[in-house]
Symmetry: C2
Subunit: 329 residues, 2 copies
Amino acid sequence: MTTVRDVAKRAGVSVGTVSRVLSKNETVKQPLKERVQKAMQDLDYKPNLAARALRTSQVAVIGLVVPDITNPFFAQLAKCIETEAAKRNHSVMLANSHDDEETERKQISALLDHAPRGVIVVAASDTGALGYETIVPIISLDRRFEKYPLIATDHSDGSAKIADHLYDLGHRKIAYISGPQNTEVGRSRRNGFLSRIKTLGHDGDPVTLQVFEGQFDYEHGEEIGREILQSNNFERPTAIAAASDQLAIGVLRAARDLKIDVPTELSVTGFDDISLARLVVPRLTTIRQPTDLLAQTALEQIFEERGTREEQALKGDIVIRGSTSPPSL
Amino acid sequence: MTTVRDVAKRAGVSVGTVSRVLSKNETVKQPLKERVQKAMQDLDYKPNLAARALRTSQVAVIGLVVPDITNPFFAQLAKCIETEAAKRNHSVMLANSHDDEETERKQISALLDHAPRGVIVVAASDTGALGYETIVPIISLDRRFEKYPLIATDHSDGSAKIADHLYDLGHRKIAYISGPQNTEVGRSRRNGFLSRIKTLGHDGDPVTLQVFEGQFDYEHGEEIGREILQSNNFERPTAIAAASDQLAIGVLRAARDLKIDVPTELSVTGFDDISLARLVVPRLTTIRQPTDLLAQTALEQIFEERGTREEQALKGDIVIRGSTSPPSL
DNA sequence: CTGAAAGCGCTTACAG
DNA sequence: CTGAAAGCGCTTACAG
């Protein structure tokens, strides 16, 4: 293991000087700097990160806690965060909360023990809390954790876009499958959708609306989808808007099982635009969450020097694909 | 920040003793030990991991490099690894190689700088290499990295099981879509399938076989699937075995587009058993990779003290679902 | 602009 | 069985 001492010796300078060129401190003059850099190269010097961390109480790591990395949307988010962190020469420590508050608290705590540059949390629920203060900046991503500033897609706006789209197509009997109402995302998406539909129904034709609730996953989509579609034909909606792509894909599966054709007999929409959304049959109309931008913004907030970290809501765009069409008469 | 000194002072012992109860060194007698533990609790003491790392040249972290965390199989693997690591109070540092050797090398290098307990690599390709030695144990998972011991499913055995299944159902015109042949997984799965089919065809009815090659992803499955299925009916195979679930799901999509019913007109099989496999329409017959066991074994190898790290091939089971049936006449 | 030196918080031989 | 002390490799005031 070569150390600053070895480098200093070879370059004929003090360890302080070596450290200063390492930290890109501009006070070291050109000729000396080059000599040191050459010595580092010759010796294939790599700084000991633990020693640096001990001195600076800071390690070039970003902690990331997600409910479940197996969820395609969180995987997408994790990938973007890793990419953004790498641009700043930071590594990412990943932990799953398994949608459990207690596990979440422990995971965050474990990450904080490493003294990371910051922690990004996609919260398991609304009520999770750390229970103590920390100097490490914490940012909520997609789903708010405790009091920490949230970077997220404007769920309400996105859902309203879906409402507009379905209404414009002519749908007047619509079912909405919301996410869990004990989460902010679940509520925002639902409120955004419902209030827009109500406005439209008030100003124009009346709209018949059914609302259901479930976890954001495939299984609930399939189950609730079947429930909705098995009601007799007269009551059956012509469109189902789901609060996530996974829910929507579950609905597609239920429709297929019941021999209900999408989109001729039923329109289906999702939210997120996971990569699967354009692979299912038919391809899913949905709201694209700007994952790159979410990740980028979250990282920016962490590296924000002036301590003015703030909430940010980013707009998502609607992506219209084959799963929606005008209702058949 | 409370330190060992604070704890020592409060407990009326030396810092050495505090450190010894911390490291579960059994030499500290019961009464003293309890006094120290009480002091730690009272002061809410948390050890400084950086300081510990500096002394021991070791941090409680497992590095994990995957080609792309967005790939559902790797996400599954990552989740299991995180769970296993947590059992040993280790955190996981995640990096994506984006299927690029150069990035992979850099990512592994960056992880090694943190002096982790071990690094697990799911290689991007066969030819990637680190180019230098390290004392940190490195384990290849699923796809071999350089010379490092590989923990993987017995791909050849799994593929042979698929071959048996299709042959037993009565398929005699079969297409195989292999993964990239510059990867060991790609080759093992292909060889396992082809050699079993050839044996069966030799001992029993002859089998007509077409072989294609692509990346392991959805897009290639769809593209190659379309190519296969658009050949005139006479030549069209009655079954397509794909080297991964993602490929198989792409094939399902192509079949759907071409109005070819699965399984009545075409049987389709995958490999991996990603969670999506039981959600597509129809549900996919595939080989279940024992992800928990893979993760567990990889971790065991890393923590193997006696330095006798060894290769291991774990059997995968066939999961028969709706995407396969006897060929129609 | 550069060097000498202190010290971050821990672990671990070394005594006793 | 426990304490006193050295030292891991770095960064950063403090001098000069």
